[in-house]
Assembly symmetry: C2
Homo-oligomer: 97 residues x 2
């Protein structure tokens, strides 16, 4: 899995305005991060909860449907969350001007 | 408030691929909808919960930050959620090809 993780980090680092990338396993434990560790653990826990709620919402509306990404736009950042089979990816970006 | 609501509905109806627009008050009660009523109530309840969790997440990470929109991309649709002061807006779109 680690080669796959390295590729993901490299891929998202090439996106513009990226300020952080976190890879989290399905138990909300960070596997890899480019951010401060305390902030990483905080994001991992909160996003894990939000992602499971969003996935349940999608299935509750239509069992055959799947959540493919979740994007939070805030006044300071954009947080993109991508669920994969064994982990999920959090990308924190400064909103493009 | 109703003139404001009508304007919002008109504005989002001009977006491409929009299949439904729902306006929900802060008690998760639908104010206006272009969708089937049962589906509307289902969306309103689920999104209300998800939105409050997402807002709490943003404030927990940074009290001075604000959630401005939430976007769920699924295999079938894109659901955009926009919190306003007294209500929130749900726009369901077919993903642009």
């Amino acid at each position: 899995m680690s080669a796959e993780i390295e590729d993901i980090i490299k891929r998202f680092q090439n996106y513009p305005n990226v300020v952080g990338i976190i890879i989290v396993d399905l138990f909300a434990i960070p596997i890899k991060t480019t951010m401060d560790y305390n902030l990483t653990v905080h994001y991992a826990t909160l996003v894990s909860n939000l992602l499971s709620k969003a996935s349940k919402m999608v299935h509750s509306l239509d069992m055959t449907n799947e959540l493919t990404s979740l994007r939070l736009r805030t006044s300071k950042h954009e947080v993109v969350i991508v669920p994969e089979e064994n982990f999920f990816i959090i990308v924190v970006q400064n909103p493009s001007e």
